[in-house]
Point group: C3
């Protein structure tokens, strides 16, 4: 058997020892498991942001136990779950964090509510005490059903779909995610542009709030002069606003949830 992969995402940051405590728990239970840190820089308690990053990264990972913890309701009755989806098993709080990743993997097939808890006396660090042990046991070969009571996957919490409307020569979508370069990805993809018959226009009108401007539709950042904005299909297949060697988010003042209209 080759070593199992654990893909690990949290909002813990790397300044404290929280991530390492989880790595340690995994190493003790499943010493041959290998961990890929997806990110630990999800903005604190931003479940939606974590869900986007997880779903976008998943298709490029090897078959993995996915350990994801953005968990503002830790210590309450929110469920702790493990969800089989495609070639992956997703472990985390049942707050929607896993839902888009499950979709990206082909949909949740089976799920259990986690029952085991590391006996540390703590109630505020389920990443270490509940989720990492479960992920490690899965990575070490334990069957999903051995981790807890089976759930109806239809009861798993889902995040609301991001806002998107496609009409003739018009795509309206909310900002889905902003990356570290300031690229602004919309909740719309290349197919939406085609459906709106907008994909053959060399320039498109982009309206956000009061502001409106015409942007070239191009294949790369560098297709426009330095400092200029551009509309492109990003590496996750989404329509995105970018600025060559600059930050579209800063320049256009856009944040996740803001609505943008693409038209002629």
């Amino acid at each position: 058997m080759t070593a199992a992969w654990v893909a690990f995402l949290t909002d813990y940051g790397r300044a404290d020892g929280y991530v390492a405590a989880c790595h340690g728990v995994i190493a003790r239970i499943a010493p041959s498991a290998r961990v890929i840190d997806v990110t630990h820089e999800v903005p604190a308690q931003d479940v939606r942001h974590g869900a986007v990053v997880l779903a976008d990264t998943l298709p490029y990972l090897p078959p993995s136990v996915v350990l994801a913890v953005v968990d503002p309701e830790v210590g309450t009755r929110r469920r702790a779950v493990a969800v089989a989806a495609g070639e992956h098993v997703l472990v985390g709080p049942d707050n929607g964090l896993l839902s888009w990743a499950a979709d990206a993997a082909g949909g949740a097939v089976r799920a259990v509510e986690l029952e085991y808890r590391l006996d540390t006396g703590a109630t505020t660090f389920d990443g270490r005490d509940v989720f990492a042990p479960a992920a490690a046991h899965l990575a070490a070969g334990t069957e999903l059903r051995a981790l807890g009571r089976e759930l109806d996957v239809a009861t798993l919490v889902r995040l609301p779909d991001p806002w998107l409307r496609v009409g003739p020569e018009m795509v309206e979508a909310e900002v889905h995610v902003v990356d570290r370069f300031g690229n602004v990805a919309l909740a719309a993809g290349a197919a939406d542009l085609t459906a709106a018959a907008l994909d053959q226009h060399p320039r498109l009108r982009v309206t956000a709030g009061e502001r409106s401007s015409y942007l070239p539709l191009a294949a790369s950042f560098a297709a426009v002069p330095e400092g200029d904005p551009v509309l492109l299909v990003d590496s996750a297949g989404r329509l995105a606003l970018a600025v060559n060697r600059g930050s579209a988010a800063a320049e256009l003042g856009l944040r996740p949830g803001d609505r943008v209209t693409i038209s002629t």
Copy 2:
């Protein structure tokens, strides 16, 4: 033999190549060793902060060579040491950084002063030139005593104990550490609360400087409404001030070393 673990903590940050140079040195000397990065975001030269994170994380790590470098006195006569404690061996500067971790592991049992130095000509990067080679050789199976002259463990530098006073219905303690969420952990634990006969009160008075307020004593952040402060026992067993989905450190203006009084 299973691969040896090296747990690695510094204040180097990840923006430069310092951490990777140490990883490289380890990989050359002990190619089968596996590294768990505890954190490299200790505030620059903050030995005390590094000592807290290391001690809090250690109980969850597998038996490890612990490589810890927060070393403002690099290049001076401060000693470079390796310390056997419990199932771990701690490697780093003898400036107190290792002392609380050694305590957490059951106490220093044996120690040596490191004698080997990688011949790079440098005097300012003992992480790469002294500590990583020592940790790697230990991970590769070299005996502690082969690394240098034995020391009396009683001579190892210790950090001063954090300030704590427990009386009838009163716990006074300094802020021990603030985490990335702004949770404020005091140098007092659940047992101190019990000793002060404060653990059965649903609300406790928290005084810091001029400010005083009553906070609920609860089991989780989410036990109070969003934005509200709460007193809880954190994942390291410490009394902590937190704000549900907010930052207690920012809200209460508290920093490590500040004194807080818990009373009725």
Copy 3:
């Protein structure tokens, strides 16, 4: 065969899933390869900074496939290359990023233009789609020549040499890199100081713009009182301005590219 090492440097940051997607691509193609993350915090699109960190770290790495991506011209006709140099193979965009690392490894010996692209439909993420697959195939044992058409190494893009002039009792050099501690490394080394007959002076005059002051030449930060500036030879062998427990860059207002004169 021992596992191959992949050393990985980008300007992607760790907040998004870009780095992890590349880790995933490597894991799928070369599951036994082991990755050392050099840094992913290169300032966005700062090719020169990435080149410095890579060249400084390389000598301490085991023989590696070096995957380096700081790629502002992604999507244009800039070449994607793999370059054999010493015991390493360097993979990345042909924009100068690899040039100083190739020098540090003894010079580029052979190179190919990468031809394979992961079929994701994307044009803006060659780290995931072109460079990581190439690095992974090399780590899995594929020969360099199998990755694409051979290039003349003399045609590889080089960064301009940093500015440096050495005269009698005078070294003029630009700031080469500033690290996270605010240490200011010049594009001059200990040998330049010796060539200028400056290495025996206990104090040297340091002039930057309008400001001029005498700094002690010492072996460590802690050789001067806390808060005092010092001139030393840093861990990469460069002349550097530092402040004991402080930031020379902040104190002296210096940035990469600024010119500094060392004299008597």
